[in-house]
C-alpha cells in the first residue's frame, strides 16, 4: 500500500507528486477476469465484475488498469471509463488503507450519524474526504444509505459494516481500532455470530423497555421465521424445516403454466414498491424458443430499507428456492441475482448457498432428476441507487451505464440482452415457495385484504426503541401499532412528527394519520405510498428543512443524469434548500421549490425523478410553517437536525 497518495495534502493545495508506479494486474486477477468473461451470455457483462476484481487487487483504478480490464473484456477503453466514472464504489483516486464511509442520510443522519462524523473527524484529525497522515484512514461522508438503518448510526469500512454506533464510547472503540488499522470485529470471530462479518454491539440491551399499548398478533413469520437470528441458515437446516419441498412439488407435479397460474391467483404483488401482480408479470413472457431470463432485484438502495439484506443473509435458500420455481415457471435456465455493491456479506452468503444447492442437485443440471436446468449468477453492483430501477439494472448487468430505458418494449418482451426477462424483487420471490406449497387460497387468507395479501416485511427505522424488520400480514397493523407494539415505542418518549412510509421516496405521513393501515390502499388514503414498506419514523424536534435538504442531497447524488429535469432540477432544488438552510432564503423560495418540483415530476423517464420531488412537496404541504420561519429575516443558518 506504499503507493497510496495522501488525499489530505491534495485537498490542502499541496499536491504530492503521484507515485511513479506502473500498475499491472497479477496473473490470478487476469485469470479471474477472463473467467468472468466466459461466465456470462454476453462478454460485456464481465466489465463491472472485472473492474471490481481489479480494484480489489490494486485498491483503486488508475487509468492503465482501467485500460487493461477493457482489453481483457474486449471493449474500448472509453467504454470502461464510462462505467468506472458512474459508480460511486469504483475509485479513480487512491484512498487510505481503511475507507470509512459515514452515512448521514435519513434515518442515520438524525439518529447520530452527523455527530458520529464530527467525532471521527476530531479523533482522527482529518476532515471529510481526507486521509490520515499515516495513510491509514480515509473519511468519507456519504448521503447514500447503506442499508444498516435498523442499527443506526453506522459506517461502512471497506467490505464491512460497523453498526449501532450510538454512544460516544462506541465511537471511541471504533477510533481505537482504526488507529491500529483494524476494523472492529475483524479477525476474532464474534461470539454472537461467527458467520456475520458485520459488527454490531448489542443495542437492544440499552434501549428502554417499551410501554406496550397493545398485543402482538398471533402470527408465525413465513419469510423470516428464525428472527432474531443473524447467521445464514444452512441447506441442512433449511431442508429440515421443510425447505425445497415447494420446488420438488413444482418440478415433479406441476406444469410451468400451472405455477404461473397459482402465483397469479394468490394475488402476490411485487414487494419492490410498484406492487404489480407477480403472476401477471410472469404471464407476459412470450412462450417461443430462445433464452429467457429471471433477474432478481436485490439493489436495495432506498434509504431506510434493509429487508432484502436480512432475507439474503439469513434465509438464502428461501430466495434460491423461489428463484428456481420462478425460473421454472417462465422457462428460464439462467437467472441473475443483482445485489447492491455495498451488501458484500449478503453476496458471499448467497454464493455459498448456491454452491450448497448445486452440490445437492437443487440447482445446476437436471434439477431433482428432471429436465430442468438452472444456473444462478450473483452479480454485484457498485454503488448506484438508479440500479434499483429495473431497466437501469438490466443495463448495468449488460455492462452499460445504468440509465433507465424508455418503455415499451417492457422487459418481459425485451429485457436482458434484448430477451424476454422477468425482474422481481427479493421479497417477492421469497414469497413464492409458500404459495406453491400451500396454494393460492391459503395465501390470500393471510391478512385482512385478499386483493393484496400475504406476508410483508416492514422495515422499521428511525427514532423507535426497537428498529428492525417485522414480518406481518399485509395490512394487519397501522403505523401506530407497528411503532408502539413492535417498535417498542419512541425513543426517549418522543412524539412522532411524521413517518416516511417508503424510504425517502414517498410523501411524509404526518402524525395525525398514524392510524392508517399499512397496506397499499391504507397508505394511499393517508396521502402517500406503501412502496417497499420502509418506515422512517421522524420524531418531533427534527428540523424538516434539514431533513428535506438531506433527502434532496441523496437524489442529487443518485440522479443518473439522463433526463434533463431530474439532472438539472434536482440539483437546483437542493441548491435552493441549501440556501434556505444557510439562512439566505427569500420569501419566493417556497413557491420556487413547488414550481420546480412540478417541472420535474411527471416529465422524466423513470419514477426516481418523481420520487425526488416528494420530500420537498410533502414537507412543504405538512410543515410549511417551518419553512416560513427559516425564511424569516435573520432567521440564521440551520446548523443541526433540531428545530428552533
Amino acid at each position: 500500500m506504499s503507493q497510496l497518495g495522501n488525499t489530505a495534502s491534495h485537498a490542502a493545495g499541496n499536491p504530492v507528486a503521484p507515485p511513479s508506479v506502473n500498475f499491472t494486474l497479477s496473473e490470478p486477477t487476469q485469470a479471474a477476469i477472463r473467467a468472468e468473461v466466459a461466465k456470462f451470455p454476453h462478454f460485456r457483462s464481465a466489465l463491472l465484475p472485472g473492474l471490481k476484481l481489479a480494484q480489489r487487487e490494486i485498491g483503486w483504478l488508475p487509468p492503465e488498469i482501467i485500460a487493461e480490464v477493457a482489453d481483457l473484456v474486449g471493449v474500448s477503453h472509453a467504454s470502461a471509463h464510462e462505467i468506472v466514472t458512474f459508480y460511486s464504489m469504483l475509485h479513480q483516486k487512491p484512498h487510505g488503507k481503511l475507507l470509512v464511509e459515514v452515512c448521514v442520510q435519513m434515518p442515520c443522519g438524525f439518529c447520530g450519524g452527523e455527530r458520529l462524523l464530527q467525532q471521527l473527524e476530531k479523533a482522527l484529525e482529518i476532515k471529510d474526504g481526507e486521509t490520515t497522515k499515516d495513510g491509514m484512514v480515509t473519511l468519507h461522508r456519504t448521503p447514500e444509505c447503506m442499508g444498516g438503518c435498523h442499527r443506526a448510526p453506522m459506517v461502512k469500512i471497506g467490505d464491512r459494516f460497523v453498526e449501532n454506533l450510538r454512544t460516544p464510547a462506541d465511537v471511541d472503540d471504533l477510533v481505537r481500532h482504526l488507529k491500529q488499522g483494524k476494523v472492529p470485529g475483524e479477525g476474532a470471530p464474534g461470539e454472537r455470530d461467527s458467520l456475520n462479518h458485520d459488527y454490531h454491539p448489542p443495542a437492544e440491551a440499552r434501549t428502554i423497555a417499551p410501554s406496550a399499548v397493545g398485543k402482538k398478533l398471533d402470527y408465525k413469520p413465513i419469510l423470516l421465521p428464525r428472527q432474531p437470528r443473524t447467521t445464514r441458515v444452512t441447506l441442512d437446516e433449511y431442508r429440515a424445516s421443510g425447505g425445497y419441498a415447494a420446488l420438488t412439488k413444482a418440478l415433479q407435479t406441476m406444469q410451468p403454466a400451472d405455477v404461473t397460474q397459482v402465483v397469479k391467483d394468490s394475488n402476490l404483488r411485487g414487494r419492490g414498491g410498484a406492487a404489480f401482480s407477480a403472476g401477471m408479470k410472469w404471464g407476459f413472457v412470450p412462450k417461443g424458443p430462445g433464452p429467457k431470463y429471471l433477474v432478481v432485484n436485490a439493489d436495495e438502495s432506498e434509504p431506510g430499507t434493509f429487508k432484502d439484506r436480512e432475507i439474503m443473509e439469513v434465509e438464502s435458500h428461501l430466495l434460491l428456492e423461489g428463484m428456481a420455481i420462478a425460473s421454472f415457471a417462465i422457462g428460464c435456465n439462467e437467472a441473475f441475482l443483482y445485489i447492491r455493491g455495498e451488501y458484500v456479506e449478503a453476496g458471499r452468503r448467497m454464493q455459498a448457498a448456491i454452491v450448497e444447492a448445486e452440490q445437492a442437485g437443487l440447482l445446476g443440471k437436471s434439477i431433482l432428476g428432471t429436465r430442468f436446468d438452472l444456473r444462478i449468477h450473483v452479480f454485484s453492483g457498485a454503488g448506484a441507487y438508479i440500479c434499483g430501477e429495473e431497466t437501469a439494472l438490466l443495463e448495468s448487468l449488460e455492462g452499460k451505464r445504468p440509465m433507465p430505458r424508455s418503455r415499451p418494449p417492457f422487459p418481459a418482451v425485451s429485457g436482458l440482452y434484448a430477451r424476454p426477462t422477468v425482474v422481481n424483487n427479493v421479497e417477492t420471490i421469497a414469497n413464492v415457495p409458500c404459495i406453491i406449497s400451500n396454494g393460492a387460497a391459503w395465501y390470500k387468507a393471510i391478512g385482512p385484504n385478499e386483493r393484496s395479501a400475504g406476508p410483508k416485511i416492514y422495515c422499521l427505522g428511525g427514532w423507535v426503541n426497537r428498529p428492525g424488520n417485522y414480518e406481518l400480514p399485509l395490512g394487519a397493523v397501522s403505523f401506530r401499532e407497528l411503532i408502539e407494539i413492535y417498535g417498542g415505542g419512541m425513543r426517549d418518549g418522543a412524539k412522532v412528527k411524521g413517518v416516511l412510509p417508503a424510504g425517502i421516496s414517498a410523501p411524509i405521513v404526518p402524525a395525525d394519520k398514524l392510524d392508517a393501515k399499512l397496506d397499499y390502499e391504507g397508505v394511499a388514503a393517508a396521502g402517500s405510498m406503501l412502496g417497499s414498506a420502509s418506515l422512517i419514523v421522524i420524531p418531533e424536534g427534527v428540523n424538516i428543512v434539514r431533513a428535506a435538504t438531506r433527502m434532496l442531497e441523496f437524489f442529487r447524488h443518485e440522479s443518473c443524469g439522463k433526463c434533463t429535469p431530474c439532472r438539472e432540477g434536482v440539483m437546483w432544488l437542493h441548491k435552493v434548500l441549501l440556501r434556505i438552510e444557510a439562512g439566505l432564503g427569500d420569501a419566493k423560495d417556497i413557491d420556487l421549490l413547488l414550481s420546480l418540483s412540478g417541472q420535474i415530476s411527471g416529465k422524466v423517464l423513470c419514477a426516481l425523478g418523481d420520487f425526488a420531488t416528494s420530500p420537498v412537496v410533502a414537507t412543504i404541504k405538512h410543515f410549511r410553517s417551518e419553512y416560513e420561519s427559516a425564511l424569516k429575516d435573520q432567521a440564521g443558518a440551520i446548523d443541526d437536525w433540531t428545530t428552533r
Partner: protein, 644 residues
C-alpha cells in the same frame, strides 16, 4: 394500405406508416415538435424530454420521440400542459448553460437558441451560481469540447456507438457531473469523429479548424461532392469571403446517408490564401496568377502569354538544340472532371499526336463496381479482400455496418481491418497470401471444408458465409492487379451471389473521379511510361520526377525549381463546376465555391483554352461535353439542399 395508421396531431389528421414515431408523424403533419436528443438516423433515447406532448387517455406527458403512433391516437403538442412541460425543459436546460451565444460558433444555427425562442419562456429563476466546467477541452487534434455548453443529449456518443461502432466517445460521470469524453489521457480517435460536430445541437463540440472563423450569416453554402475518395459523399461547402472554411454533409441516402469521414471533412479543403486566415509564415505558395520563367525567374504573366508559352513547349518549338525528340506529355490528377476528360481525350489528344496523355495515380481498375453501395445495407454476407474500407473508403465501412443491423456478417481477408469489432471472421493475409487464402476459402465454401488442408479459421469463416440472400465482395484495387487474385475473387463473388440482384462486387479504384475517367477515356486511365520527353504538362497535384520542361497547372504550392517554365493557377475541385462519377456510377455535379484565387481556371476551361491555342476546336458547351454521360443523366438529379 393496411400498414397505415391514422391519428390526429394538433387537430391535423394524418396517416403514416405503422411503427412511425410520433415526432416524425408530426413532421408529416407540418407540426413542429421541438427536439434535442432525437435524430432521425439515431435510435431514440428519450433523454432531453424536450418533445413532451399530451396524448389523449394518457395522464402523463409523453415524449414524442419514443412513442410510436397508434390508430386513433389524438396528440396535442400545443396543449397548455405540454407547453408548460416544454417551457420547463428549456428552463432546466438553460439553468446551467453559460449563455455565451455572442462568442459561440453555433450562435445563429443553434437548436438550443431556436427552441428557446419558440418553446421557452425567455426568463430564468436561477439565482444560484452556475456549474463551471472546462470551456475549451481538446478532445482531439480536430475537435474541441465546451463542457459547459453541453446539454447531454447523447447524440455524439450514440453516433460513435451505433453508426461508427467504435465507442470512441462516451458519457462520463453521472447526474449533474455528467459529461462526454474519452478514457483518461486518450484522444477522441475515430475516422468519423467530425460527424459529432454536426450532430451537436449546441456549441459544445466544435471544429478546431472552423472555431471562431465565421458566423452562420457570413457563410455562403454551395452543394458539391467530397474530393476525398471515390465514394463521392455529398457535401455542402461553407465559405466566408471566398474562403472555404468547412465542409458539412449533405444527406444523400443513396451514397453517404448523411455521414462524412474526417479525411473528407477536414483534409480536402483548398489551401487558404487570404491574409485574414493565414499568417505570413504559413501562407500557401499556391499560384495566384499565371507565371512564366523569364531570365531565370518565375514572373507574373497574362493568361494569353502563359498559354502561348505552354503551347510552344508542348509542340516542342523554341527548344533550340536542346530537344530530346520533340515529344511532350500530359499527366492529369485523378480529380479531373468528366468534362475535362472529354476535352483532354477527344479534343486535345488529336492535336498532339506524338504525346503521351495519361492520368496519374490509381485510376484504372480491372473490375468496375457492380451494384449500388446502398445495397450493402441489405447484404447478408460481405467479404472485403485486400481492402480496408474503414481507412480507404470510410463511408463504405458505415454502409457495411448497416448490414449488421439486419443480421448480416462481414468477413475480412486482408492485412488491415478497421472493422475488426464487427467482422465475424478476419483471415489475415498480406498481398502474397491473398490468392492462397481465397483458394482455401472457395474450397471450404464448395463443401470441401472436411478436407484436412482447410485451416480452422477458414472453415469458421466459410460457415459464417452460409447465408441466403444477396452478398457483396469488395476487392482492393491494388490486389486486383494480381490476375490470379482477381480471378479467385470473381469466383468468390459468384459463389456469394454478389453478381445477382441486390449484390455488390468489384474492385473500386480510390481516386475521386477514377470511374469517370475510366468510363470516358479508358486510354487515359491506363498507366504508361513517359520515356524521354521534352515537356510535361501536369494538371492538378501530380507527383512526377520526369525530365524536361514543366508546365504546372495546380492549386497546390509550386516549388521553385528551374525545370518549371510555366505555372498556371488551376481551380480546386471545390472551386469549379463539372461532374464526377463515383465508384458505383453515380454522376454528380460539383459546385463552385470560394473565389480567393480569382485567376484560377476550372480544368475543362483551361483545356479548352489549350485546344484553341493549339489550333483545334474546343468543346463548345457543357451539354456537348456531357453528351457521353447521357446514359447516367438520371443520376444527375440530386436532392435539393435542405436546411440542417
Amino acid at each position: 394500405m393496411s400498414d397505415l395508421v391514422h391519428l390526429t396531431i394538433n387537430g391535423h389528421k394524418v396517416s403514416v406508416q405503422k411503427g412511425t414515431l410520433l415526432v416524425e408523424a408530426a413532421r408529416q403533419a407540418s407540426v413542429e415538435i421541438p427536439v434535442f436528443c432525437y435524430h432521425p438516423k439515431l435510435k431514440p433515447v428519450g433523454a432531453c424530454r424536450m418533445c413532451l406532448v399530451e396524448i389523449d387517455k394518457i395522464p402523463r406527458l409523453q415524449t414524442a420521440c419514443t412513442t410510436p403512433v397508434a390508430e386513433g391516437m389524438v396528440c396535442n403538442s400545443a396543449a397548455p400542459n405540454a407547453i408548460a412541460g416544454q417551457n420547463a425543459v428549456i428552463e432546466m436546460l438553460l439553468a446551467n448553460h453559460p449563455l455565451d451565444c455572442p462568442i459561440c460558433d453555433k450562435g445563429g444555427e443553434c437548436p438550443l437558441q431556436d427552441n428557446t425562442f419558440r418553446f421557452g419562456l425567455g426568463t430564468s429563476r436561477m439565482q444560484e451560481a452556475k456549474r463551471h466546467k472546462d470551456k475549451a477541452f481538446e478532445l482531439s487534434s480536430k475537435i474541441v469540447l465546451d463542457k459547459e455548453r453541453c446539454i447531454m443529449c447523447y447524440r455524439c456518443t450514440r453516433f460513435q456507438t451505433e453508426i461508427a461502432g467504435d465507442s470512441a466517445l462516451v458519457a462520463l460521470e453521472r447526474g449533474e457531473d455528467s459529461e462526454i469524453g474519452t478514457a483518461d489521457g486518450e484522444a477522441f480517435d475515430s475516422p468519423f469523429s467530425g460527424n459529432t460536430i454536426e450532430l451537436c445541437p449546441v456549441g459544445a463540440l466544435t471544429s478546431r479548424f472552423y472555431r471562431f472563423r465565421a458566423r452562420p450569416w457570413d457563410i455562403s453554402k454551395t452543394p458539391s461532392v467530397c474530393a476525398g475518395c471515390s465514394v463521392g459523399c455529398n457535401v455542402a461547402l461553407h465559405a466566408r469571403d471566398g474562403a472555404i472554411l468547412r465542409v458539412l454533409s449533405r444527406d444523400n441516402p443513396a451514397i453517404d446517408d448523411g455521414w462524412l469521414c474526417d479525411k473528407g471533412r477536414f483534409e480536402t479543403l483548398p489551401p487558404l490564401t487570404h491574409p485574414a486566415h493565414v499568417s505570413g509564415s504559413t501562407a500557401s505558395k499556391r499560384p495566384m496568377e499565371p507565371m512564366l520563367r523569364r531570365d531565370g525567374a518565375l514572373v507574373p504573366a497574362t493568361w494569353n502569354d502563359a498559354i502561348a508559352r505552354a503551347v510552344e513547349l508542348l509542340r516542342g518549338e523554341s527548344l533550340g538544340g536542346k530537344s530530346l525528340g520533340g515529344r511532350a506529355a500530359i499527366l492529369a490528377a485523378p480529380t479531373l472532371t468528366n468534362e475535362a476528360v472529354v476535352a483532354l481525350d477527344r479534343h486535345l489528344r488529336p492535336l498532339l499526336p506524338q504525346s503521351t496523355i495519361a492520368c496519374a495515380g490509381d485510376v484504372h481498375t480491372p473490375w468496375l463496381l457492380q451494384g449500388k453501395i446502398s445495397e450493402l445495407a441489405r447484404c447478408t454476407k460481405i467479404v472485403n479482400v485486400g481492402l480496408d474500407p474503414w481507412s480507404e473508403l470510410p463511408v463504405l465501412a458505415l454502409w457495411q455496418r448497416k448490414a449488421l443491423e439486419r443480421g448480416g456478417v462481414i468477413v475480412a481477408v486482408s492485412e488491415r481491418n478497421g472493422l475488426w469489432r464487427d467482422t465475424a471472421a478476419w483471415l489475415r493475409a498480406d498481398a502474397k497470401q491473398l490468392a492462397a487464402t481465397l483458394r482455401e476459402l472457395l474450397q471450404a465454401l464448395a463443401g470441401g471444408s472436411a478436407s484436412e488442408s482447410t485451416s480452422a479459421p477458414v472453415a469458421a469463416a466459410a460457415r459464417k458465409l452460409q447465408h441466403d440472400g444477396p452478398g457483396a465482395l469488395l476487392l482492393g484495387v491494388a490486389a486486383a492487379r494480381d490476375a490470379s487474385v482477381l480471378e479467385l475473387a470473381r469466383q468468390l463473388a459468384t459463389r456469394l451471389g454478389s453478381n445477382g440482384t441486390g449484390g455488390v462486387c468489384g474492385a473500386p479504384a480510390l481516386a475521386p473521379n477514377a470511374r469517370g475517367i475510366q468510363e470516358q477515356a479508358p486510354g487515359l486511365a491506363k498507366q504508361s511510361a513517359l520515356g524521354a520527353i521534352d515537356a510535361l504538362l501536369t494538371l492538378g497535384p501530380v507527383e512526377t520526377t520526369s525530365p524536361g520542361r514543366r508546365i504546372v497547372a495546380t492549386w497546390t504550392s509550386v516549388p521553385d525549381t528551374p525545370d518549371i517554365e510555366v505555372v498556371l493557377p488551376l481551380a480546386h475541385p471545390y472551386e469549379q463546376t463539372g461532374t464526377w462519377t463515383n465508384l458505383d456510377g453515380h454522376v454528380q455535379k460539383l459546385g463552385r465555391s470560394g473565389f480567393s484565387v480569382r485567376q484560377a481556371l476550372p480544368d475543362h476551361v483551361l483545356l479548352a483554352h489549350l485546344c484553341r491555342a493549339l489550333g483545334g476546336e474546343p468543346p463548345i458547351d457543357a451539354s456537348a461535353v456531357r453528351s457521353p454521360l447521357d446514359a447516367h443523366r438520371g443520376s444527375l438529379v440530386r436532392p435539393p439542399m435542405t436546411p440542417a
